[in-house]
Symmetry: C3
Subunit: 670 residues, 3 copies
Amino acid sequence: MNPIFPHFLHGGDYNPDQWLDRPDILEEDVRMMRKAHVNAVSIGIFSWSRLEPEEGVFDFGWLDEVIRRLTDNGIQIVLATPSGARPAWMAQKYPEVLRCGPDFQRMHYGDRHNHCPTSPIYREKVRAIDSALAKRYAKHPGVILWHIGNEFGGECRCPLCTKAFRDWLRNKYGTLDALNKRWWTDFWSHRITAWDQIEPPSPKGDQCNPAVKVDWRRFVSSQVRSFIEMERDAVKAYNADLPVTTNLMNRFWDYDYFDLAKAIDVVSWDSYPAWHGEDDLQTAAEFAMNHDLMRSLKRKPFLLIESTPSLVNWKDTNKLKRPGMHMLSSMQAIAHGSQSVMMFQWRKGRGGAEAFHGAVVSHDGRDDTRVFRDVEAVGKALQHMTPVLSEDTQAKACLLFDWENRWAIDFAEMGRRYAMHYFDTCVRYYRPLWEKGVSVDLRDMSEDTDLSGYSFVIAPMLFMQRNGIAEKLRSYVEQGGTLLVTYLSGLVNEDDLTFLGDAPHGLTDVLGLRAEELDTLYPGETNTLLLDNGKRVPLSRYCELPEDVAAQAVGTYGEDFYAGRPCLTVHAYGKGRAWYLAAEPADEEAMRTVMARVTDEIALPHALPDALPQGVIATARGATVFVQNYTKEERSVCLTDQWRDLITGEEKQGSAVLPPYGVWVLQKEA
Amino acid sequence: MNPIFPHFLHGGDYNPDQWLDRPDILEEDVRMMRKAHVNAVSIGIFSWSRLEPEEGVFDFGWLDEVIRRLTDNGIQIVLATPSGARPAWMAQKYPEVLRCGPDFQRMHYGDRHNHCPTSPIYREKVRAIDSALAKRYAKHPGVILWHIGNEFGGECRCPLCTKAFRDWLRNKYGTLDALNKRWWTDFWSHRITAWDQIEPPSPKGDQCNPAVKVDWRRFVSSQVRSFIEMERDAVKAYNADLPVTTNLMNRFWDYDYFDLAKAIDVVSWDSYPAWHGEDDLQTAAEFAMNHDLMRSLKRKPFLLIESTPSLVNWKDTNKLKRPGMHMLSSMQAIAHGSQSVMMFQWRKGRGGAEAFHGAVVSHDGRDDTRVFRDVEAVGKALQHMTPVLSEDTQAKACLLFDWENRWAIDFAEMGRRYAMHYFDTCVRYYRPLWEKGVSVDLRDMSEDTDLSGYSFVIAPMLFMQRNGIAEKLRSYVEQGGTLLVTYLSGLVNEDDLTFLGDAPHGLTDVLGLRAEELDTLYPGETNTLLLDNGKRVPLSRYCELPEDVAAQAVGTYGEDFYAGRPCLTVHAYGKGRAWYLAAEPADEEAMRTVMARVTDEIALPHALPDALPQGVIATARGATVFVQNYTKEERSVCLTDQWRDLITGEEKQGSAVLPPYGVWVLQKEA
Amino acid sequence: MNPIFPHFLHGGDYNPDQWLDRPDILEEDVRMMRKAHVNAVSIGIFSWSRLEPEEGVFDFGWLDEVIRRLTDNGIQIVLATPSGARPAWMAQKYPEVLRCGPDFQRMHYGDRHNHCPTSPIYREKVRAIDSALAKRYAKHPGVILWHIGNEFGGECRCPLCTKAFRDWLRNKYGTLDALNKRWWTDFWSHRITAWDQIEPPSPKGDQCNPAVKVDWRRFVSSQVRSFIEMERDAVKAYNADLPVTTNLMNRFWDYDYFDLAKAIDVVSWDSYPAWHGEDDLQTAAEFAMNHDLMRSLKRKPFLLIESTPSLVNWKDTNKLKRPGMHMLSSMQAIAHGSQSVMMFQWRKGRGGAEAFHGAVVSHDGRDDTRVFRDVEAVGKALQHMTPVLSEDTQAKACLLFDWENRWAIDFAEMGRRYAMHYFDTCVRYYRPLWEKGVSVDLRDMSEDTDLSGYSFVIAPMLFMQRNGIAEKLRSYVEQGGTLLVTYLSGLVNEDDLTFLGDAPHGLTDVLGLRAEELDTLYPGETNTLLLDNGKRVPLSRYCELPEDVAAQAVGTYGEDFYAGRPCLTVHAYGKGRAWYLAAEPADEEAMRTVMARVTDEIALPHALPDALPQGVIATARGATVFVQNYTKEERSVCLTDQWRDLITGEEKQGSAVLPPYGVWVLQKEA
């Protein structure tokens, strides 16, 4: 696959508009950027009140100068549209650009990321400024990417959004009869007899119907997609070839990123792991999955567009990155498919909420700090890594991760109600594979998901089955694939209505069993899974009770009234095999044991043939292998083959020492 | 006492209106009900939008058919009025039917149980639909009971309710002078000089006066009683003989159930214990007391009208009932006076908030599940238990439990502020008696409470003394009764004004002491009660300091500056004895020790003469004794007399094994 | 310094207006006050609805009589203005007197301390009632002090306050250009282009800019100061010599008390320590600092104007004072400079929120209770202590404690965000000095703070440097002072904008280092400080990383990647020495060790020359020494000199036993 850009981008968010009265600092910035091997910066993200100081009056002079100064020095521009925050005059004159909250009350002006996505006036104002920007800069050779808005999130319950929601529903359901049936409104007497009886779900009104809440999320997600498309079209009108991104976020719940990604050319995201907490390996696993998710959204390389060179300022405890960690976490992103290491922020501002957020340049203005040197080192390393640019991740394992299922699970009134932890559960299945150097794609249940190339598909908590997924999974197994299905699967259809008949819907013959009851354990309560290899695995949270089991019982329950019943099963179907895990392993070691049992028989490619010490992870990107030490101790690694580390140029073979938080980027010697 | 119905009711909530497009399922329901020995179902609880799809247009066709199908098959009807939730069209056209919240803002349409109890329009609409239902069905021979609304709860702060509150106050107090004096409004300068200055207490306005908050609760309770009476009168107009119930709830705080029960003919309630948590015996004790409370409300048999055959879906952790538990918990209800085992719900719906709530029939539509068989077994058992129907509980012990006192305690600014735990404290006094097989009535402080028949009266935390109660307790002791009074007693009068003079008000000579100070212990802090029998009892939460003690000190404080002072005393007064417990025993064992010491000398009837192993409880209903095993282990029970178990027909005498969660329903062999 | 009054005041809040229909009780009050040695009471605090029952109609008759009765019996009057709560009629007629909340919504009538401080109508109404009171009573010989309102607190976001805030900003900044620059509004595009775009910060609007939030606090504080001044001027118009106070509170955050104190003649405060919890010594330390803070506000004696004789009723757990504690805590106030022991409340009312708050006289009306006797004993002791009246605290140590810095720290987005604990940190530095009998003043960063008289100045977390403080501290060291600066210092200027250049701003040469990075530790995480005297001190929360250290390293970090780097340093500068503590000692013992190392070489006067046992604290007020036992055990104290205890008249020399919670007030024998 072609790389997005011919080199790795290195740089970050840059806010010269905060320093227009300090030309000395703006000059100094360029000097220091060059020293730090910065080759690209994101600008203009929150510049609207400088670009349009009063309605219809534009001022691009300062931006012309900023762009000139940067590009003259070989620094390329990621140019933002300023829709993430609006000038005060706009909110004052047109209150409809602001959101209404869950209580349907209009918010006042302030903060950011809080515009109404529906407001025609806001769309018109955004289109105007975007067009003006594009007209002026879209063909500038130093501008390489559009950055649409910033960290889209949230929702609005204003009258305009309410009306748009009704229109969206009318378009989806056609008739109120259909809507009433598919929303199951006979429950609690909620039949709708006129479209304008419908309102967004809210703690001030209706919260009782999960199906409505899922539809509201779909609507919100589609409304924001349409907003981004509006911006995309505005800027593309002046240069259709200049690619467009918007910066996504991790663990993000509000919108369906698989769908949203269709509106942009390049996926980029903001990665802020909380390193050096209780379990760096868990943090690394979660962020590895996040990177893989971002790569999977468009099945293309992505950009790490924000990260911190040192610390953030918005967590409960804001801790410094230890020596080595900036390089390690930057390389992790590259390992999973990033084409960049971009940071927030180049220079700390003097005021506002993020004056103390980590930056390449701090308030002391120095270029001799620990942080500056760490950034410089990454910049330099990236210059040696151009051969990695065209390498792509080749995953034979796939994790089904689906936003609609996620919402449905989070709204489900059952089990550990409102604490179902779908995302964390997916990380738990991901981690043992990642630890073994197995590359994983993440795919959702949409039509364009093709499973045929995978050797192993995991579908944790497949609570909602979107249309066609049961058939797709069945066919996948039939053709020879290995599938793992868990408790809490196949319970509701795409309308969030329960299926009638045995569960998991459409898969009972593939799995060779049906699931009759779901037992939920109290916090602290456990059961045991007794495996056929003699291992005992602690279980927690959920224990489903299979019946009519035709499958082979690979493990059984050890306790309670269902002791002895199958808990882990495998069933041959067609050319493939379908596993079923009825209960939740209680901890990471338990999960490792179960996944080892399941994957034993599948030929999954590993990044390295060598056994690695605890805390050292190998990740392959094509022929390049990233060996990462997530511990604070040295680790001795024994390499069979002969490799070269692209960062240092050193050869690595036999026993070699990886320092604390150390990383090697290895390619085989020719 | 005559039973309500000539047999035990067995069945539950049935929602055919969710399946009108599936006649096959409606037919199947009847077949399966018969298989499960169901003889009664509650219908129409949330059917308003089906019964009156548009304003003034009624559709009873489907209900005619449902009732015909059921009654043709020998299944009787508990017919609901649909006031628990209203159609969307009504909220849209008449917003006043919706409530205003604690912030005085009108809620939007949604959810349920949230109508304004004052709104004339809502009352008119409810009266109309109730009348139409009654006109059509009140004389139908298969209809055996009216089910008014559903789980009444909550309150409204709309202008209509505010005005009604003012009227209620004017009626109660007559003049503002009287109100100002009895509300003690000179505190913080709150004198009221016009009736329309008064508003419901609210976090947006006034929260400072406990007396106002108690009055607000009385008003809210009476307003809901009047609403229920309005519905009762509407349906009784068509058949005065058809009894009326409404389903109550456990631990319910909002309304005075002793008062509310006056509006209905039959008490029924929804019982949802969280079995299989940390301490099933504590759960069983609390629900035993709940059942006794329900029986005590009208001093008549009651109905268990909702319970789950398996699990619920609305708790944080929703756990399955273990094998045996459905029978055991159903029999517990019968043991304490229920005439029914009804369940929520017959069949799980496909959508809405309760699609995953336990049901007799799950989404798989099967009648061969564990749950179905458990339900079938209870249905069959009830058929063998008709002799129990006319048996009544005969209690010689009485626990004073009073809603007005409860509210007053919860609003009291003192002690463990806002964490006084009156209800839980009552359970703590109840449990040792229940464990010993002693039947207990619960009575409140209203005028119609007659204590003369009891051997033992416990009055925990008699903080507020309603008018006449001190005299009643004095006379009770004088006539030979044994009374137990605790710390925190006799402090405020019915106006929530403190008494002047020594505490406990009106009882110091009966008790032979006065209480000078109340010490509150920090969480985790303890003291000790040294009993005259040598036992040491740990104390927590409250330690009151008695002075001028003429009573006999049965136990003294072991620690702190009041070490050596009386803590448990008894005083002969008239023909009786008055106990006083100055402090709170710290745990269940401590409570058992204290209660054993107090009840040693009182002749209280026990359900069985035999000593029972830990976790096994005997409860008498007349001559029938329910022996219940609340542990997950077998228990060996030794029975002196010769009994027969009505469920199995087996004889029981000598040593017999009660299985885990097992229950026997024993009657003596003739 | 001259005492405020010629004797110690003893008495408390008295509410005869709640008992006007009980003349017997009013008579009894006077008798009991005399018995309890009460010589002053505060009256009229919440009497507005009695004084002005309808608009413009005043009723002073009852107050005339109350004052006559008291003063006839030698009891002096602290006369309150009633602005702390208003009559219901006023709120009904003029809703603007009520506040708007953080959501900009108007509150309803109720509770207290919740007027709009801006409302012209409220100011007019207050001025009218104050003038009427002053006209009638300001020259009454028995009236000795004005008590303005009560416990001022909170804020209002109504349109009037919003406008006043804009005016205040316009006055401060002059132009929007200046405001935009100093508020750094280019961050998130928040440039203000019209004054009426500005609103108070709020969760419904803007919360992102710490500088705006600090300005809002300054405005709120100044608005309340102006309100108090308005009241002061109203009453002083009738007798300029009658002094004015208002009762302040501990840990109070809302307003800058150093500034507010300028509006009043005498500082008084309400002290409610939670005794007998986990650590009485910590409680005592915090309240010792509170007393010192109150003395420092005007650098004058102050009044303890509220305290409880037994317990309060508004904490989560309301515990009795143990025997001795009322005397001990009363004497602690005197030890730190109080001229009074006043209590809330004289007599418990029968209703309202505080009916169960501790009082000299309880609902039983007795004067033979433990509490009454404790109060009597304090009253008697005070009569023997007149020689102490003219003694002043002589402090050579000073703790910088600044409200603007406090707000800036609390709003800072960094470190342990929103949990920075500035006040508690100050207590931690205060406690080791207090334990050693060292007197401490508290001063803020305002212009009139003069440090020249101190031997030791501690400036914990000097995050915001108000104008001139760096120069003042530099000059203080230069002249020979010893200064201790900590991590998190010199980061922002008075505008809450970060300084540019090395930190701590303006002090790097004085300290001989610069601070490059701030590491924040997770809860439970620690590091170690290795002192040059061999001691190991555990560290937590914050570890700052010094660079370019010219200072002497007195201690170094023991762990993590900065192990070996300086953590505690001292630097000679001019004639003085500047210490720098880069990290937070983890517990009290750690803090003691560090402070001992720092103060070793400074000549600080101690209250007693003798070593004292654990939990016994000596505090000097001039030549009088208060020896206080904060433990529940007897403590044996060895006194070198010959003393006399003013309370008992006993001589104390050599070994003497201080009972649990005992106190001696010692003066040297002539």
